[in-house]
């Protein structure tokens, strides 16, 4: 077992953060105080509104005698106070451990909560590997209670990773619109919008995360799931869009991609030249599966990429093949105790990690990019902008300055 973990948060927190961004949905955290406190604090930064966490605050007595009554009361409270369309109970480690009958509670309340659907998902230690799984399982729980809409033939459903993706689809939908291809996006910032995903004819996940979600939607609506690849970087975006164009036989979409490529390639090639002049070794550790997408952009630009994968579902396996074969990305599957061990082995020039990794990277005077700051990584524009500014964003001179200061005054960078 490793001694640390370099992910951004647990699956419960991620589920809370994602559901907290959807209007019409209220998550209830079925958990004791420490869990609720940490999740409340941790999700504060990413929730745009409704900043208070609804929770059950499981107490000592409830661990012995059961907390179902308390949960029931909180569901009713939330229903009467906010009138949401959907309530999702996040069933965390402690209630799972004591065997809470969450399903039974929801069943009991069916009659009382008119116009509101209640669902739940088990989070926490059942999903210890990837925080991103928190997205997938909470989306899947939403899909469970969705009413299927009539399918629109020839339409595309774009499936994103987290609530943040709800605002990042435009880098792809612009092309679909131009090619007159009807589309639906999931997640969206309102539950009514999200429900429309069941109208999609073909589902195109834009990240490796929503494996379970796509499966559930497909079961519900008979939509066909086509995992192409993550549309990040120029080549990835092109291949993703052309895959849709081929599926629908849309010459218009091919034309739009041709035009965009013609426009962007000279700029992209000049960025590649910069990368070839200043070769980089990049290590991606942790991340909400962004190691796949961000690593892809940097690898396409010519960086030598080392990647610790956080997800292992079938989509992730497919993406892994793309990254390894097309860009010769090195995957690190061996267990490691601390990030320092990897730094000693791979000597990266720059590391993508989380705050608990940053404290190990900075004393080595190497830039650490925080994974959570680099989401919405889809499409041509993101890739070009990111590539153009990457060397500058590393702020190497700042690290050199501190290195010089510590050396001069005999300071200990780890002190």
């Amino acid at each position: 077992m490793p001694l640390k973990s370099y992910e951004h948060c647990c699956s419960t927190m991620q589920a809370m953060a994602s559901l907290g961004k959807i209007e019409g949905v209220i998550p209830i955290l079925h958990a004791p105080q420490p869990c609720i406190y940490e999740i409340q604090i941790g999700t504060m930064c990413c929730r745009p509104s409704r900043l208070l966490t609804m929770g059950t605050l499981i107490e000592r007595g409830e661990i012995i005698f059961g907390g179902e009554e308390n949960l029931k009361r909180q569901i009713v409270n939330v229903y009467h106070t906010y009138h949401p369309k959907v309530i999702v109970v996040l069933n965390t480690c402690v209630p799972q451990l004591i065997g809470e009958d969450v399903k039974g509670v929801i069943e009991d309340l069916k009659e009382e909560l008119k116009g509101c659907k209640v669902t739940y998902c088990d989070t926490g230690f059942k999903y210890p590997i990837a925080m991103a799984t928190g997205n997938d399982i909470c989306w899947a729980s939403i899909v469970d209670i969705m009413e299927p809409h009539q399918r629109m033939d020839g339409s595309i459903g774009l499936l994103g990773r987290s609530g943040t993706d709800a605002g990042a689809f435009s880098s792809l939908t612009t092309f679909l619109r131009e090619a007159d291809i009807p589309y639906f996006t999931f997640p969206a910032s309102h539950i009514d919008e999200m429900e429309k995903i069941t109208r999609a004819h073909f589902l195109y996940p834009i990240h490796v995360v929503p494996y379970l979600t796509s499966k559930k939607i497909s079961e519900k609506s008979s939509a066909l799931v086509n995992y192409s690849e993550i549309p990040s970087g120029v080549e990835g975006t092109t291949r993703f869009l052309r895959s849709i164009a081929d599926q629908l036989g849309s010459q218009k979409l091919h034309d739009a991609v041709d035009r965009e490529e013609k426009e962007i390639m000279p700029h992209w090639d000049s960025v590649k030249v910069t990368f070839s002049k200043k070769p980089l070794r990049v290590l991606h550790s942790g991340g909400p599966a962004s190691e796949f997408s961000m690593g892809k952009i940097l690898a396409e630009l010519g960086a030598e990429v080392f990647l610790v994968p956080t997800m292992k579902n079938p989509f992730a396996k497919k993406e892994r093949e793309v990254l390894a074969e097309r860009y010769r990305v090195t995957f690190i599957d061996e267990e490691f105790d601390t990030l320092s061990d990897l730094l000693d082995t791979y000597h990266p020039d720059v590391v993508f990690t989380e705050f608990q990794g940053q404290i190990e990277v900075t004393p080595r005077f190497a830039p650490a990019f925080i994974n959570m700051m680099y989401l919405a990584e889809y499409g041509y524009d993101f890739a070009l902008d990111f590539g153009r500014n990457f060397h500058e964003a590393m702020k190497g001179h700042v690290y050199r300055k501190w290195e010089e200061l510590l050396k001069r005054y005999k300071g200990n960078p780890y002190g």
Binding site: M1, P2, L3, K4, S5, E7, H8, C9, C10, S11, T12, M13, P32, Q33, P34, C35, I36, Y37, E38, I39, Q40, I41, G42, M44, C45, L51, L52, T53, M54, G55, T56, L57, E59, R60, I63, R73, Q74, N77, V78, T81, C93, V94, Q96, L97, I98, G124, F125, K126, P128, M131, D337, E354, F355, Q356, I359
Partner: protein, 596 residues
């Protein structure tokens, strides 16, 4: 004198009856949203030991719990922490093997101590953690098992108590040295407070032997019994039980009844320590108090503080709640219009200086209090900041956790003499500058539009609102309201109507009064006009002498709440000087006597 007596401030409260302290509503009857800003015993235990820089802390937990705890606490302090990565299977079938492997790896690193803090899941299954430690036969390994449902302060106390077994009771005593008990990582402003207390102790010739625990080393912890005296820095929060145990085991007396917040209490804190060590601190304290007095004599300190109601929301920081409330009220004349505290004992203590204290109110209750009491400044945590911004309050100071990514350095203490000065600096600058800037127009705006007529109802409302604004900002605020109302009337080719003035007042009245002035516009239209009201009020004034017209005019300038007092005082002056009638000359003489 409480040194050595084991007396705790919170056990010696002579406050007003508890009945006046309002409690939060029943858990069962409301949404559970009030506790979200209250960390638990698990946070407390972790924060207590993670600040020992060279020791290793293991959170015996699923990786998710570890990540959340580590990430959130890294927002406040720099430290390292490890985990046993419990899986679902581990928890169900026993995690002995997993923990053993984790500990073996850490022992190999050769740390001076390892602290194992168990997580809620481990506490539910009651995993045999001690058995694993015993098997490894590593004597510098300590297990802390926080209680589910315990408070953050209880968790800290557990953490502190676990240190006693590691201490060396045979260590040589250090003359004139103390241990500072209480500062831990993730406590608001601990670093700055500690720095200031160290400075004060250094000034009187006392050294700090160990800090329990923030930024300490294991050697300092082991040698803690070398100190002559233990000082509980946050006696209303944690550390007192630990100090009592140290007294029992090592015979070290402790001080827990002085909170060095404010000039007076900081001086008392120093005096108590000096008295224990038999030190002469008169010259030192003279200098500090003179410095403080020099500050409050300058500029706008009392001008602002005397008219600045403050709301304190310090539910995770009981010691600050008591210390700051007493300092503000007694030494700065600040009215504590509302205080939210963490427990009833503290509530009683704060109630000595505030008539409006709530114990663990919900966020909605706090919101209501802010609206009703209209503080000019709110001090609290991140949620209070959010609520205050949502409600339109301009002035806010962080004074409690959670803060969410708030950087706190050794600068800016709230404790000690420099803490008192810093608090004054912060309060006065926030309030004065923010209100001052709110009264300003555009950089290159028009100064006047010429004469614009006012309806009597609008004029009446302007005067009423003016009376609600503190004197240090009243003239400028009223001028701005007037100007803005006239600009709007000019645009609409109208006189300034009540409606126009209401629009302007909503937009430009200094924040605190936005709720209060609404009453002015909500009054029944059948209400008497300002002139009528004034005359009506006039009849209620305690005139016993004749006042000439000019003197009565001057009385108009006095705020209505002080008019009666002004009449009585002026007439008393007139009689004392054998005047038969109150004229403007008499009023002026009396004003002069009062120092105006």
């Amino acid at each position: 004198m409480s040194i050595g007596s084991g007396k705790n401030f919170s056990r010696d409260i002579k406050g007003t009856p508890m009945a006046k302290v309002k409690e939060g509503t029943d858990r069962e009857k409301r949404l559970q949203v009030s506790e979200i800003h209250r960390p638990s015993a698990f946070e407390g235990a972790l924060w207590a030991v993670m600040g020992i820089k060279d020791a290793h802390t293991v959170f015996h937990s699923p990786s998710g719990c570890y990540i959340n705890q580590h990430q959130n606490a890294l927002m406040n302090d720099l430290f390292e922490m490890y985990t046993s990565h419990l899986s679902y299977g581990d928890v169900l079938h026993g995690a002995r093997e997993t923990l053993e492997k984790t500990l073996q790896k850490l022992i190999a690193k050769g740390p001076p101590a390892i602290f194992i803090v168990t997580s809620p899941t481990v506490e539910i299954v009651k995993d045999d953690v001690e058995g694993v430690v015993e098997k490894l036969d590593y004597e510098k390994c300590v297990v802390i098992r926080p209680t589910i449902g315990g408070t953050v302060h209880q968790g800290k106390e557990e953490g502190f108590l676990s240190l006693i077994s590691l201490m060396d009771e045979k260590v040589e005593k250090k003359e004139k040295s103390v241990n500072l008990i209480g500062p831990t990582y993730s406590v608001f402003n601990w670093r700055a407070d500690l720095e200031e207390l160290r400075r004060m102790l250094f000034e009187i010739g006392v050294s700090v032997n160990a800090v329990i625990t923030a930024d300490s080393t294991m050697q300092q912890i082991i040698s803690a019994p070398a100190a002559m005296l233990n000082i509980c820095v946050y006696p209303f929060d944690c550390g007192v039980t630990f100090a009592q145990k140290m007294q029992e085991k090592f015979g070290i007396p402790y001080l827990a009844d002085a909170i060095p917040i404010g000039f007076g209490e900081s001086a008392r804190w120093v005096e108590e320590i000096a008295s224990f060590f038999n030190l002469d601190v008169e010259t030192y304290l003279k200098g500090e108090i003179e410095n403080g007095f020099r500050l409050i004599r300058t500029g706008s300190v009392f001008t602002v503080t005397f008219e600045t109601p403050v709301a304190l929301a310090l539910e995770n920081h009981n010691t600050y709640a008591v210390g700051i409330s007493h300092f503000f009220k007694k030494e700065l004349g600040i009215e504590i219009c509302f205080a939210a505290v963490g427990d009833e004992e503290v509530g009683t203590k704060v109630q000595e200086v505030s008539g409006n204290v709530s114990v663990s109110p919900t966020i909605d209750e706090k919101k209501r209090q802010y609206e009703e009491t209209s503080p000019l400044l709110i001090m609290g945590n991140f949620y209070d900041l959010k609520v205050s911004k949502d409600l339109g309050f301009l002035n806010f100071l962080f004074a409690d956790i959670p803060t969410i990514s708030f950087l706190a350095t050794e600068n800016g203490p709230y404790m000690g003499f420099r803490g008192a000065s810093y608090l004054i600096q912060q309060v006065v600058n926030q309030v004065y500058i923010n209100l001052f800037i709110e009264t300003k127009g555009e950089m290159e705006g028009q100064i006047s539009l010429g004469e614009v007529r006012w309806s009597s109802s609008a004029e009446n409302a302007l005067r009423k609102i003016a009376e609600m604004i503190p004197h240090f900002i009243r003239t400028k605020s009223v001028k701005k309201l007037q100007k803005k109302a006239e600009e709007l009337a000019y645009q609409e080719k109208s006189e300034v109507t009540l409606e126009i003035f209401k629009t302007i007042a909503e937009e430009y009245t200094p924040t605190r009064f936005k709720t209060k002035f609404l009453e002015v516009f909500e009054e029944d239209s059948a209400e008497p006009t300002y002139q009528e009201k004034t005359e009506e009020d006039w009849s209620k004034l305690p005139f016993s002498m004749e006042w000439d017209e000019e003197a009565r005019e001057m009385l108009h300038m006095v705020p209505s709440e002080f008019k009666a007092k002004a009449v009585l005082g002026t007439e008393e002056y007139a009689q004392r000087h054998n005047y038969t009638c109150v004229t403007s000359q008499v009023v002026n003489e009396y004003r002069k006597e009062l120092g105006f």
